[in-house]
């Protein structure tokens, strides 16, 4: 469970989040939407303990993490996988070394065993291990890089919580759909709690049942898809209006996890 209690976060005196409170339960899938710069990504960084709020509390499974020592935060992070914007793959390492990074660093497994698990994971995220394992990230397309990043996060900690920062931004429709399918597959097969930050409206409807709209660092809306569609909250209508025409078709869109 993730809980924010009255969280304020400023960056160099510029307010990013103001009095944010919400709770996300067990295997829930939540999408945080909002315009660029509204503070969505900061929420993920706070959950991961990469930033410390000036006020308020962030609780992960009941443990308040904002005042924790770095060593204690590492234990919390073992249950969290993060897919950064643009993947954040280690560009000097091969795909195989990226995906097996956590195992190389934190376990004493033999190289053969790690490679076997890496190959299995690459297959799980829909990549051909023989084709990509020895390539550098720069040799892959954006969509493939994003899938490698998801594989890396999954193989590292077998997480209960997956955080996705703009997972489909900058991808072509086919790659975008592949990544979304993978997110849905993870939710269905592993029951992980997915928290997705995006401003891609169409994508968000396909992967979650709960939606939070962040506007200027505050929670403007928190509810279901139907509530979102019928909302009269000015910040929500202002954010959704440009997409209204295309929303009707999008709302029917469902992703089925590949077998």
């Amino acid at each position: 469970m993730i809980e924010f209690r009255n969280v304020d976060f400023r960056y160099e005196e510029r307010p990013i989040l103001q009095n944010i409170s919400f709770r996300i339960n067990g295997s829930e899938s939540v999408v945080f939407m909002g315009a660029s710069g509204s503070g969505k990504s900061t929420i993920l960084r706070l959950i991961l303990g990469l930033e410390t709020p000036q006020r308020g509390e962030v609780l992960i499974d009941g443990k308040e993490i904002t005042r924790m020592k770095e060593s204690a935060k590492r234990d919390i992070r073992k249950n969290i996988g993060m897919v950064f914007q643009d993947g954040a793959l280690f560009d000097s390492l091969t795909v195989g070394e990226n995906v097996g990074y956590y195992l190389f660093e934190h376990t004493n497994l033999a190289d053969d065993e790690i490679e076997s698990r890496v190959r299995q994971m690459l297959g799980f995220v829909g990549l051909d291990p023989d084709d990509v394992i020895d390539k550098l990230p720069e040799q892959l397309s954006g969509g493939m890089q994003r899938r490698v990043a998801i594989g890396r996060a999954l193989l590292s900690t077998n997480p209960k919580i997956m955080l996705y920062d703009e997972p489909t931004t900058g991808l072509d429709p086919q790659s975008s759909e592949n990544v979304l399918r993978l997110i849905v597959k993870l939710q269905e097969e592993r029951s992980v709690c997915s928290i997705v930050v995006t401003h891609q409206i169409a994508d968000s409807f396909a992967i979650a049942k709960r939606f939070v709209v962040i506007d200027k660092g505050t929670v403007a809306f928190d509810g279901t898809l139907d509530q979102l569609r019928d909302s009269n909250i000015p910040q929500v209508t202002e954010f959704l209006d440009p997409f209204r025409e295309s929303m009707a078709g999008v709302l029917e869109r469902k992703f089925v996890a590949p077998g």
Binding site: R45, L48, L50, E70, R74, R77, K78, I80, M82, F84, Q85, D86, A88, L89, F90, D91, Y101, Y102, E105, H106, S156, T157
Partner: protein
Amino acid sequence: MVRALFGRPWYVTETLEQMYLIGIGSLFLIVLTGAFAGQGFALAFSVELADFGAKNYLGRIMSISIVRELGPVLCGLMVAARVAAGITAEIGAMKSSNQLDAMVAFGIDPIRKIAVPRLIALIVMVPVLTIICDVIAILGGWIIAGLIAHVTTTMYWSAVFERLIFGNIFIGLFKPVCFSFIIAFVACYKGFSAEGGTKGVGQATTESVVLTSITILCVNFFITKLVFSLIKGYL
């Protein structure tokens, strides 16, 4: 970073890799620097010493000035220009592409993983490179002494070895260790604090080289001053 130096985990492979990159990678640059600096220095002094009929002191001057001052400073500046820029650019690029955050997310301390191996590699390799620079520079001086200043080989080398005493060698090796800390601290700090994307990384890299070079020159002066105050009797 200093505290991390003594804590686990130790990244031995990364440290050895950095020692290779810094040591072997800078070798050609250091050899060139030593050769031309030594020859130029010897040429200038041989002319001046000839006016006083003191050409036989060339080896002595070369020994003191190269081992105690020029070798460590030139080597420090060359390594700073080559290595500090690389460290800052690499760490800055990793930061701007979220790779450092990804590392933290996987339970890795970037200071231990990135900064400490570079610091250790510098502490080991800069003194070694300085010794090589000293040797090449003094050899360069010997060529000038023989071909232009007409100082005999025996005279030159006996004068060189006469001043290769504990105090001079100690200073000549103490300075590179100090310079290693300066290069590592400044370069890593500038990399970790780089902001503003590609432009910010470029700016941090430039600042890193400038700040490292200036600091090396300043610290060199103060070490020399301090040494003259404390161990003058050994010089």
